[in-house]
Amino acid sequence: MKRENRLQYIIKEGFLDTFYIWKDELKNVFKDSGVVIFFFLVPFIYPILYAFIYNNEVVREAKMVVVDQSDSFLSREFTRRVNATADVEVVAVCSDMAEAKKMLDEKKAYGILYFPSEFSKDLHKGKQTTLSLYCDMSSLLFYKAFLLASMEVSLDMGKELRAHNSPASSGKMEEIMVEPIPYESVAIFNSQNGFASFLVPAILILVLQQTLVLGIGMLGGTAREKNRFHTLVPVCRHFNGTLRIVFGKSLTYLLLYVVVCIWVLAIVPKLFGLPQVGESWTIMFFILPYLFACIFFAMTLSGFMRSREAPMLVFVFTSVVLIFISGVSWPKEAIPPFWKVIGYVFPSTPGIQGFIRINTSGATLNEVAHEYRTLWVQAGIYFITACMIYRFQIMRSRKLIIKQYRYMKMQRALRKGK
């Protein structure tokens, strides 16, 4: 038996080659400023930028203008209380709608609260009265602030008026009559309904996938541009097996991204005070298959990249689609089945779902079992496709070598023939 065919030898050589490729790929990463941008600069800067943009979490003091046709004690009291809420600021009290509308046009205010002239009279007569609230719909958060603040004030004042109009024998009796069934609302996991706590964790996870796809795609594109015969795999003794290439390269990315993950998933949330109630071990166990899935997914895609810039042109816009398909902003129950299926192609869909539930809602792996399993399945499938891509590329470069060899041999024969 030849030495080359012994299993022991193959395994030993495979290991050595894997490490050779690992080192080679590491060098490739750091030599290429474009890849460094995507592997390090973007994951470093982007989370900070987004956390900074959404850092105020909620809208405070949304500007409102009041049209008070009633001009009574009650209407002024109502206005004063709305102004006192944290969400709304009353910037002016106008005498008619035209003036208020002009303020909306000039963006001096984003909502109008209108008191009809019979507001106070109706209330004193014991008739129901209606206030009109007009909202500029350029931002739903303004609308929400206006609506909640005026609803709250109207319910409170309503209760007081009732107690005042029909006094009962004791304070307790009054309370029971005014509010037979009290209620309370609790926002859990993101207790102030903040925007950063809602969106930034999803962006963090998406950034991991997208930078891997862009970075690895760029490495693949560069290899295709640089290598002889424009194949993904260089002509070299060490690049002689599919598994060693896939293992060697993915090891490089994995090790680099462990560092990136620590920054993105552990340090950034701390820096910006984002909610993080999940166990760090659970997060780690969950992120591992996510990284595998992303890396193999990216390696598969990189097989289709012919130039180093192509990934940016092709994949950047998908981030917008992927954040919506993940079911964090648009609830997953409302996503049409077709897009739901498409969503399962990308590791970010189960990745985002699982991560925010662990990180923000304190779920354990049991509660995210479905997403966890999906990620492993994706990792498995994309591992196989990545191997297929590299296998195909190895075969192609071999074929091209043989073709070139024959061509040269033929030319030499021709020359000799002369």
């Binding site: 941008i37 982007y46 206030l131 719909m137 109207s154 859990i188 049409p336």
Partner: protein, 392 residues
């Protein structure tokens, strides 16, 4: 060069550019395929306008006819669907962590009896703020339900005492708020988001294609040839190169317009003119910003990275989801650097609110102002085109 010569040269460069498109299919992907994917995706994703039947869990510790009635009524709300009924809050919380429900409605023990006998039983409801849209929709329904539950008790007592329903309602809820969501009375999310998301995608693709089409000339060392075909004039060469792209992107933008305001009949209170003009200005101002990007960073990959980051950031900083007024003052100033921001403000004034053009002229002026950018960077760009050596 005379004017006619310039026109002729521009045509030569434009022909050359269209020839280049034929050689790399990526242009077609960026100019046509990607925008098409996005318009189909976003419009079909949000075709219902508002998500309906959001799942909640009910923890019913009472189990009486009263509480069951309450649950039935809650389920009948359009946005709410009761998918889990349980007697353990722990289980409801786990369902929430599993992502099966977004809210929990809690009915305490002896609720029915206590309510009827005036012992003030307390209803509680919980929303999962991690899913902001679902949470705020459910909050509304569950709050209404709680208010109604109190009202129904009051109604029964009042009827028993012989009051008319009008009198009782005036007692129960003396002040009613009548809300008018101007321009979007249905609170349609598709109207709210797609009017800015889709032009945002367009802006991103314009940045990328502009940078790519100029940067690839430098990379493949064809930039001298390009300049020569434009008679060595930067203006002529740029115009010739960008005009075909302007035409394609403007057509795509107008098709977006047709999809939004024609096919989907989104509010268009201003008529077509102001919005078509705004879209056209968005296209050319984004191209101008693209030229500036590659002029500033004349390496293809750096220029493209810059374009990607800037284009993606636009979606957040434009302030259609989280208002700019709620951001840090630095960011408020920065937001002016994005053409999409000005487009968004025009859209709010014109299509959404139908305001007088007078109120948006500054935004139109801003968009036009971006056209100065190529002139500022022109010298730098020409230098790069003539002397820059591509370093891989």
């Amino acid at each position: 060069m005379t004017f006619e010569e310039s026109l002729h040269k521009i045509r030569t460069v434009a022909n050359r550019e269209i020839h280049r498109w034929g050689k790399s299919p990526i242009y077609f992907f960026c100019m046509l395929v990607a925008p098409t994917i996005c318009v189909i995706f976003f419009l079909s994703l949000m075709k219902d306008g508002l998500p309906t039947d959001m799942p909640i869990a009910v923890v019913d510790l009472d189990g009486s006819a009263t509480s069951r009635n309450l649950v039935r009524q809650l389920d009948a709300f359009e946005q709410t669907k009761v998918v889990v009924r349980t007697t353990s809050f722990d289980e409801a919380r786990r369902e929430m962590q599993k992502g099966n429900v977004y809210g929990v409605f809690y009915i305490p023990e002896d609720f029915g009896v206590d309510a009827a006998s005036g012992r003030q039983p307390r209803l509680s409801f919980y929303t999962n703020g991690t899913y902001l849209i679902a949470a705020s929709l459910l909050f509304r329904d569950m709050k209404t339900m709680s208010v109604l539950a109190g009202a129904s008790v009051g109604l029964q007592t009042g009827l028993a005492k012989g009051y008319t329903e009008d009198q009782i309602m005036a007692q129960l809820q003396p002040i009613v708020i009548d809300t008018h969501a101007l321009g979007n009375p249905w609170l349609n999310y598709s109207v709210y988001l797609n009017n800015t998301l889709l032009p945002g995608v367009l802006q991103l693709m314009i940045f990328l294609v502009t940078v790519f089409s100029i940067g690839s000339e430098i990379k493949h060392s064809t930039s001298r040839e390009w300049l020569e075909s434009g008679g060595n004039s930067m203006t002529v060469s740029l115009l010739g190169k960008l005009l075909p792209q302007t035409v394609v992107f403007t057509v795509v933008a107008f098709l977006y317009c047709a999809a939004l305001y024609g096919f989907n009949s989104f509010p268009l209170n201003s008529g077509w003119g102001p919005m078509l003009l705004a879209l056209f200005l968005l296209v050319i101002s984004s191209q101008a910003v693209g030229v500036f990007m590659i002029g500033l960073l004349p390496t293809l990959r750096l220029g493209l990275s810059f374009a990607s980051l800037f284009g993606m950031l636009a979606f957040s900083i434009v302030g259609f989801s989280f208002p700019v007024l709620g951001m840090d003052p630095t960011l408020q100033a920065l937001s002016d650097l994005f053409p999409l921001r000005h487009y968004f403000l025009i859209y709010v004034d014109q299509a959404l609110n139908g305001r007088d053009l007078f109120y948006s002229w500054t935004e139109y002026a801003w968009l036009t102002g971006f056209l100065i950018l190529p002139f500022l960077i022109g010298r730098n760009l020409k230098g790069a085109l003539l002397y820059f050596k591509y370093i891989p």
